[in-house]
Symmetry: C2
């Protein structure tokens, strides 16, 4: 089953952090966590190290590890980087995509379209994610793909927030269509631009959402 307890703990902690079980800047107490998970400090520390490496927490020597709640600036930067990574994947994908890949993308996009028509935001979210994963794959560069996957995962909780904005689903679909056309044409620059815009708009929407929430208080 769980051959290594540390791996299990890592997944749990990751989940807890992204779902906000810890306050901003809170110290992750090794002893408390070890009691909570029913293991010794060793596997806890192992998991914490990996969290540090993944960038979810910050380690201050001899002080402990603290959860990093990225501020607005960091988040905008991350969305920006995501836009660039997607643009890069699209740039390469346009040159290398196979008929089969393109067909798969169109199929997934069809599913997206139906989710919009429903409308079923959750379903759309899932298919949309698949759509982007297919583009990462089509770029045929595992290093770039892994970068994109990692950052996408990191941004997941924030991307979800802005999905329920009115009209966003329809707009997103239109962008998908444009991306598909560019890919089908094998136009790498246009694909890159369309993808960059598609992701950047998410960052902007998110930014608006943030300022909105702020002004409300």
């Amino acid at each position: 089953m769980d051959v290594r307890r540390a791996d299990h703990i890592l997944d749990n902690l990751e989940q807890m952090i992204v779902t906000g079980s810890f306050a901003h800047g809170e110290r992750l107490d090794e002893i408390r966590l070890s009691e909570q998970f029913g293991v010794s400090r060793t596997p806890i520390r192992e998991a914490l190290q990996k969290l540090v490496a993944s960038g979810l927490v910050e380690q201050r020597p001899r002080r402990g590890v603290f959860v990093i709640e990225p501020g607005p600036v960091e988040l905008v930067e991350m969305f920006e980087a995501m836009a660039e990574l997607e643009a890069s994947c699209g740039y390469l994908a346009a040159k290398r995509i196979t008929e089969a890949n393109l067909q798969a993308l169109q199929d997934v996009n069809e599913l997206c379209k139906r989710a919009v028509a429903a409308p079923d935001a959750d379903k759309y979210y899932a298919h949309n994610e698949k759509f982007h994963h297919l583009i990462y794959e089509a770029a045929q560069s595992s290093y770039l793909r892994d970068l994109a996957l990692r950052l996408q995962k990191r941004l997941k909780p924030y991307r979800r927030l802005q999905l329920h904005l009115r009209g966003r689903l329809e707009q997103s679909m239109a962008e998908h269509e444009a991306i598909l056309r560019a890919l089908a044409d094998g136009d790498s620059k246009r694909t890159a631009d369309e993808l960059r815009g598609h992701v950047a708009v998410q960052g902007e929407k998110f930014h608006h959402l943030l300022s909105h929430l702020k002004s409300k208080r």
Copy 2:
């Protein structure tokens, strides 16, 4: 001094791996390393975990960690990703670069030019690195900058190889000039293209070098 032994060990191991102290696929023996460094297995394991996270080694559960010697395919993919990251940084930098940043770039480029004239490959290498770092900074996106820095560090040992190819220094300088012109013009797309080409050519040269070495055997 060395408040945490594990950090020191990590740096050493990193160095040893990139300089080829270990054979391809060799298992990093925890006990041997702990004797070698004069510490217990605990800090060794901690360092190994970080190496796993950084992608220099691979961990197979209950088997140990093994050094990953990236094959030709992986290396080409990494150079490709580097080209894309640099292009992205350039794209953003062209929109955001300040006069001061631009001047700093031009100054460093002047140093590069002198190193070429000398010719001093080592000095050129150092200044060239600074040149690219300045571009990462000018992009004003710390996330993207960190990605670029990490991959650049990873590719360091391979990039060095192809620096002594005849005529490469002069060609590289010409590319730098083109990049600077595009940046000065604030032309983000041209900057991206120039940078992509500049880095991609390194990857290609490296590829040629590889096949050359292979055919020689």
